[in-house]
Amino acid sequence: MSKTVEDIEKEIVAEFDIYDDWLDRYNYLIEIGKYLPLIDPTYKIESNLIHGCQSRVWLHAEMQDGRVVFSADSDAVITRGIISLLIRALSNQTPDDIMAAPLKFITLIGLKEHLSPSRSNGLISMVKQMKFYALAFKSK
């Protein structure tokens, strides 16, 4: 049995809870963002690009055994960190679970502002796009 979205969200929140200071949280996020190879370079193409005026996000999705597998990347490290958390939570889940995912952890770990439209970093569109992919795979 793989973990549910909710389980993973709880795990992430617990990991970030160790750090009281915002700087340490960002440092942790930067570590996560730095070292994860996220997307196969052949998918880092214009058609997978989500435009934001500040940072760019590439997102690729495919269906494997009834579950959606996401991979993604960004040109900014903090954005990469958040992306890898989102992928951890949503990749390898069923379309239904992805569409229903609350994704509260972003707020709980103090990164909510990165998902605000004023940031224009492509993250909001990325979450939307992940849910769209889930919907699209489900209706196939």
Binding site: Y26, N27, I30, S55, A76, V77, I78
Partner: protein
């Protein structure tokens, strides 16, 4: 300056706020400037004791409001050193000022195969309206190239001028690089070829003296909110002869003399271009802002901002790996930079958490980012109420960013 920095800062209530528990450092003045108490108070005073529609009712309040509104027009005339008050048109801001010229002058006088010249360092507001016009008319857009230091290539501009050129739309100051464009020589050269010139003054107004008669530009636009006034009000200056020759912008009340279903006759200048109930409150508050700037003295503001620019540039230059984008010999206090290979979004996120407001991204200037091959920049834009201590705090934040992303 006559006033101490403490006295000046106390006039701007927002500056004493905290952000993330730290004293706010506001370095995003090119996006919008903060407002002095006199401007904030003018807004509430207007709605408390003066509010009524202008130029219409012949009653006590309407007469007073109309007088106050027209007084601001005269104030702006003097601020820009324009010949006549009726050459001053109220708009929503620079964007609307430029669109007004494109939609009226442009639509009437620019045709197939005509050419419009802009520069590589224009804000999107001074690119897109001309692109739209060119598309509609089958006209061509030509672009003055920019050197690596952020200065424009005057020789290249001279080569672009030809008998098909109708208009030059040029920024006075680059909002991304801080370059002060020596617009006067561009205007002279354009006029020798019979080409009209519109100057985008969004980043110049309130930072330097502006004399539209000395410049001899045909149009000049700026935004109130970037000149310590409120949002939603701006100015278009136009030479009387062109404004008279131009068709109206929008139709409605205020802009007509007589209306019948057969034909309407248009009102005289400047009302021909001000359809509908104008933004009286914000205009009056803009008047207060210009009064405030006048009291400080534009030359004093310019001197102080130059000191801040020099200090910031020097402190940045001391840090290895800092790349300043825009090193023109004449600049306003706008500094775009990158820290090594660190993405501006990453740097901006951390700098923000230090309570420092800078802007990151492409600054509505995508062509410049492409020209310099960067995904965006970090931009600190300073105003006379900023301090060297605040600059020191930015430098500390940059050091921290370097550590974190090393």
């Amino acid at each position: 300056m006559k006033l101490s920095i403490e006295q000046i800062r106390s006039e701007f209530p927002i500056l004493s706020q905290t952000a993330y528990g730290k004293p706010l450092v506001y370095f995003d003045n090119a996006a919008t400037t903060q407002k002095p108490v006199c401007v904030i108070k003018a807004l509430s005073d207007y709605y408390t004791s003066l509010n009524s529609n202008v130029h219409r009712g012949a009653h006590y309040l309407s007469i007073k409001a109309s007088e106050a509104y027209e007084n601001v027009r005269r104030q702006i005339q003097h601020f820009l050193h324009a010949g006549y008050a009726h050459e001053i048109v109220f708009t929503r801001g620079t964007t609307e000022s430029i669109n007004l010229v494109a939609a009226t002058y442009g639509r009437k006088f620019i045709g197939v195969a005509d050419e419009i010249i802009i520069s590589h360092i224009e804000h999107h507001s001074n690119i897109v309206p001309w692109q739209m016009l060119c598309e509609e008319k089958g006209a061509k857009l030509k672009v003055i190239p920019v050197f690596d230091n952020g200065e424009l290539d005057f020789e290249a501009f001279l080569n672009l001028l030809n008998e098909r050129t109708r208009l030059l739309a040029l920024t006075h100051v680059s909002n991304t690089l801080g370059t002060i464009v020596p617009v006067q020589k561009y205007i002279e050269a354009a006029h020798q070829c019979g080409v009209l010139v519109l100057i985008d003054g969004a980043q110049a107004a309130a930072h330097m003296k502006i004399d539209v008669q000395e410049l001899d530009c045909d149009f000049y636009g700026f935004s109130g909110h970037k000149a310590y006034g409120p949002m939603g009000i701006g100015v278009l200056y136009g030479k009387e002869k062109w404004l008279n020759a131009m068709p109206p912008y929008q139709g409605g009340g205020e802009m007509i003399l007589n209306v019948s279903f057969e034909k309407s006759t248009y009102n005289e200048l400047p009302y021909k271009f001000e359809a509908g109930t104008p933004n009286v409150a914000d205009a009056i508050a803009l008047g207060k802002a210009l009064e405030y700037i006048g009291e400080l003295g534009v030359d004093q503001i310019e001197k102080r901002e130059k000191e801040l620019l020099d200090y910031l540039t020097q402190r940045l230059t001391e840090i290895p790996d800092i790349r300043i984008i825009g090193t023109a010999s004449e600049k306003t206090s706008i500094v775009s930079f990158l820290i090594g290979e660190i993405h501006p979004y990453d740097a901006g996120t951390i700098i923000d958490r230090f309570g420092i407001a800078v802007r990151t991204g492409n600054h509505c200037n995508q062509p410049i980012m492409d020209r310099f091959g960067v995904p965006g920049t970090i931009r600190a834009s300073l105003a006379f109420y900023n301090t060297t201590e605040e600059i020191d705090r930015l430098i500390e934040a940059i050091e921290k960013v370097k550590q974190m992303f090393a």
